[in-house]
Symmetry: C2
Subunit: 578 residues, 2 copies
């Protein structure tokens, strides 16, 4: 992982690959690397679909090693959805494989001639870039199936569906899982549209013949990894809740807490919650011969993923995440697990952010395009996106644009990006993260739900403004650092509660790189990343006035607690004054 | 004009009108008044379609008097298109009539219950607000015809078409002309969507029994007005070019100068220009029994308007303005005057900004939705807007949104508003105005074309960056002041070249109000207005990074001069440091 692969898609005579040493970006990985490259090399005022934007795909610092949970990958660029800097994060196999091939990052630059579409094959012998017209407007599942035919089933794929090719602002980048299915997505911020603008349909990675990455101090590293795994296995969230029911264990919890946004953020509880809870999904999955527990990448010990089969026992989709179940479920008044799994599959197949899609359909429902609860109508809307009809293109452009096109006032977005599955009025801490994250509304950027609702890492009353800014600040700093390691963010539950597990993570990093990193050093890294990202955003035209929730959160109270969001603007404005 | 009519559309029990003294807003009119009210009373971060936004309609300081050219009216609000402050300006009869009824402004506030639609009747006896379901989704021509049936043909109307009711970001507010036709539009920035969100379909104004407004010094006022008219009649632009051919006299001039944006800003000259020039339109109008010279409001002495009949001699539209002929013509590769007149009619009827529509169709053509030159396709796209289909809603949302939805990189907008009919690469001064005006790209905000191309008010080389910032600064200041007087901006041609005509304007203001206003005083007023508007925009989240042209103007050179826009960012940033 000491080299960067740059592909100039607009080079004279066709795309040109160059491999160079990591140089000035050494000691950076994942989000730290993507954000540093974007901030340094991309004009913050460039059009997101222009040759000047870059798409950076980077494994984390520990990816490709034997470290548990180290299979996450970061995708960075100037976002077509927010207009600011973006890092979207995914699981799957490509992270470990790219890392083992020695690449700290792939950087797609420039812009090819109109309508040219390429596949990029990377293995230990180098890089091949081939134009392939037959890939046009294939879905993610179709393109991966085709690549399997060409390159065998030992590869991993990074691809876009029709949405990315159409450069829609809600398009995702798909990463294949252990079954070589395009189920893991860097979903947020339209990163798929940027990949589409670069004319890259699919990157095929083959790490055959490449060894696992070796730490500087193998003994210390192995011991730390064991301790780390032990910590994850003994924590209630990472050892029990997530393995048993996946992230969707949260449906009942957040609904009970009154923070489950229902009918486009009108209510905090959904009557149909039990029908679409993680418990219900697990039961269906087990009964139909799917899997209720499953890892999204090699080396995962939490195994919060799963496989959802249809009534006939055939694969329908991976186990939908909590935010997907919420966005297409409660937020749209839909309580049918099969329909939600179908929506999850369609989003993955067409290459769309599930959070953005559910929020957008909620806005369309508010506009009367279809009715709340109309599951078949929702499925049809997503299918329209795949077809590229005008209606589909509106939906695929996300909630902010759909709100303007449909003339809707109530649009749950920050910096143009849709709010995820936690209402900021009932979970104040996450509201602070939504408002202030350089990414736009993003629950993963500082998951205050942990401390507000799950009582992990302490306890801060979710219904009150006190302590939320400090909580979100600390979480945003820690998250920026974790997102650089290649570690799944779910390790945070354990390391927030168990000092020894956090120490084990530090020990792994230190043993791998021969460092003497402390907790303070990790915090410094997180701060540096946030500062880099915010500096980019300032130059892209963002000010403190963009660090705000939509007005209705401060004027319309949310049942059942009947409260509004109470954190003051002045408090939000000091969150990055550390 | 010493009172303000406020209508709270969201009042308990239904809309409620209140008339109050002008108070703190005294001595303000037109844009000065709309911008002051919006900046003081509207939360810059509110949703443009929310109850918190206000729609302010204000005649100018001299409107309702015998002063020539004083029939302009300003419409202000937070813009749904730009997200910043907006003043859109129109001619027609309502300005004079509202002024004679004594209203300095109508302010629409609050928000009615869902889907309620009202008509507002104003005469000397007061204000009547009536819900009228029969008005739903009528076009502007239809609603005005209906009001004529109810209120007779001595009234004037301010109305919205289907676009405003659908709250589309490119919706205009229509004002009737002397023939009681809805041909004069406050077009820019989506002011019609805000009127739609207030549930007001039409305002009917009847000034029967109201005398002309009387100046404090009638003798001095009358003498100044005579001098003012004399100046307008002797200037080549206001005395000859505009009366003979209307604003469309510019087609040949700008095309010859190489600054006529063609095929979505790809070229600076259009081969079909002669076929759609002002000279050609005038010939057709005269031949078919229309009018090549005509005033848009009582008291106009320039008479740059006209009436365009179809082949059978029936009214098709008013004489389309230069910017309309350009946007639907050269910008879309269309050179058929009848088709352009039909597009003009449809825009007026549905209630759409003609500049935004032409620019949006140009973007759609770049995306391949229809082909460049496809006039019937363009007509169909505008008809789709009226029908409210998904495709129509995309088009009615303007160029910036259409660019995102169709995945197009080349989108000619500043602050979300489409560039008008002058390419900034060949007319550098107007590029400075586009980039820096608080209104977004707007040629009327500081019409540097006058000095760059027409050699009015001096001479500044249009192809060079030197002197353009100073030119645009002075014009933006002067324009803000003129837009407050109710005077048509075309008086600027004469007052820039003739010191005695400018003095006559000052004398009129002084005689009317008993003031001692000097040229410096006028400049101070203009500066104060710009400062107020910019302060609002800063609080709405705008920074210097939004005072920029789209990147392609700095990277793609424009034939035939083959130059890029060369004014430096640092120079743009000092334009308001006076």
């Amino acid at each position: 992982m000491d080299k960067i692969l740059r592909i100039d898609m607009g080079a004279e005579g066709g795309p040109k690959a160059t491999v160079s040493p990591i140089g000035a970006y050494a000691a950076l990985g994942g989000r730290g690397l993507t954000s540093s490259i974007v901030a340094k090399e991309v004009d913050p005022l460039c059009h997101p679909l222009s040759a000047g934007n870059k798409l950076v795909i980077a494994p984390g610092l520990l990816s490709g090693s034997i470290a548990a949970m180290s299979g996450r990958i970061s995708v960075g660029c100037k976002s077509p959805l927010t207009g600011g800097i973006k890092e979207a994060n995914a699981g799957g196999q490509p992270s470990q494989m790219l890392a083992r091939l020695g690449y700290a990052a792939i950087v797609l630059e420039g812009k090819p001639k109109e309508n040219a579409l390429y596949k990029v094959f990377i293995n230990k012998d180098g890089v091949k870039i081939v134009e392939d017209k037959s890939l046009k407007m294939l879905s993610n599942y179709q393109v991966v199936e085709k690549m399997k035919g060409e390159f065998g089933d030992k590869v991993a794929c990074i691809s876009i569906g029709q949405a990315g090719e159409m450069r829609l602002p809600a398009a995702s980048v798909a990463f294949t899982d252990m079954e070589l299915r395009p189920t893991r997505h860097a979903g947020r911020g339209g990163v798929g549209a940027v990949m589409g603008s670069k004319g890259v349909k699919v990157i095929i990675i083959d790490d055959a013949g490449q060894p696992t990455r070796q730490p500087k101090d193998p003994e210390k590293f192995r011991a730390a990894n064991m301790k780390f795994i032990e910590g994850l296995r003994t924590h209630a969230v990472t050892g029990q809740a997530l393995p048993s029911y996946g992230t969707n264990v949260l449906t009942n919890i957040i609904n009970e807490a009154g923070g489950y946004p229902t009918y486009n953020f009108k209510h905090g509880r959904f009557l149909g919650a039990a029908k679409i809870s993680g418990e219900t999904f697990a039961e269906i999955e087990t009964k139909r011969g799917g899997l209720a527990t499953h890892g999204c990448h090699t080396g995962c010990v939490i195994r919060c993923s799963g496989i959802y089969n249809d009534k006939d026992g055939h694969f329908l989709s991976k186990q939908p995440e909590y935010e997907t179940v919420w966005s297409h479920g409660g937020n749209c008044g839909i309580d049918d697990p099969d329909k939600i799994a179908m929506l999850d599959f369609l989003d993955d197949d067409i290459g769309l952010d599930t959070i953005e899609m559910g929020a957008t359909i909620g806005v369309a429902m508010d506009a009367g395009v279809i009715k709340f609860g109309d599951a078949d109508g929702a499925i049809n809307l997503i299918k329209e996106v795949g077809k590229g009809t005008p209606l589909g293109r509106i939906i695929g452009s996300g909630a902010a644009i759909a709100g303007k096109v449909f003339g809707v006032e109530k649009v749950p977005v920050v910096k143009g990006q849709a709010l995820p599955a936690y209402d900021p009025r009932a979970v104040h801490g996450i509201g602070v993260t939504y408002a202030t994250s350089p990414m736009g509304a993003d629950h993963t950027a500082g998951y205050a739900v942990a401390t507000n609702i799950l009582k992990v890492g302490g306890e801060v009353d979710p219904l009150k403004p006190e302590g939320q800014v400090e909580l979100s600040r600390n979480l945003q700093i820690a998250t920026a650092a974790i997102d650089s390691t290649g570690m799944c963010i779910f390790i945070a539950f354990a390391i927030m509660d168990q000092p020894e597990t956090f120490q084990a993570l530090l020990d792994m990093l230190n043993a791998f790189y021969g460092l003497e990193l402390t907790a303070e050093g990790v915090a410094e890294l997180g701060k540096k990343i946030l500062k880099t990202e915010r500096h980019f955003n300032t130059r892209a035209g963002f000010s403190q006035h963009h660090d705000r929730l939509p007005g209705f959160f401060k004027t319309e109270s949310l049942p059942p607690h009947n409260i509004i969001f109470q954190v003051k603007d002045e408090e939000l404005d000091v969150i990055f004054n550390w």
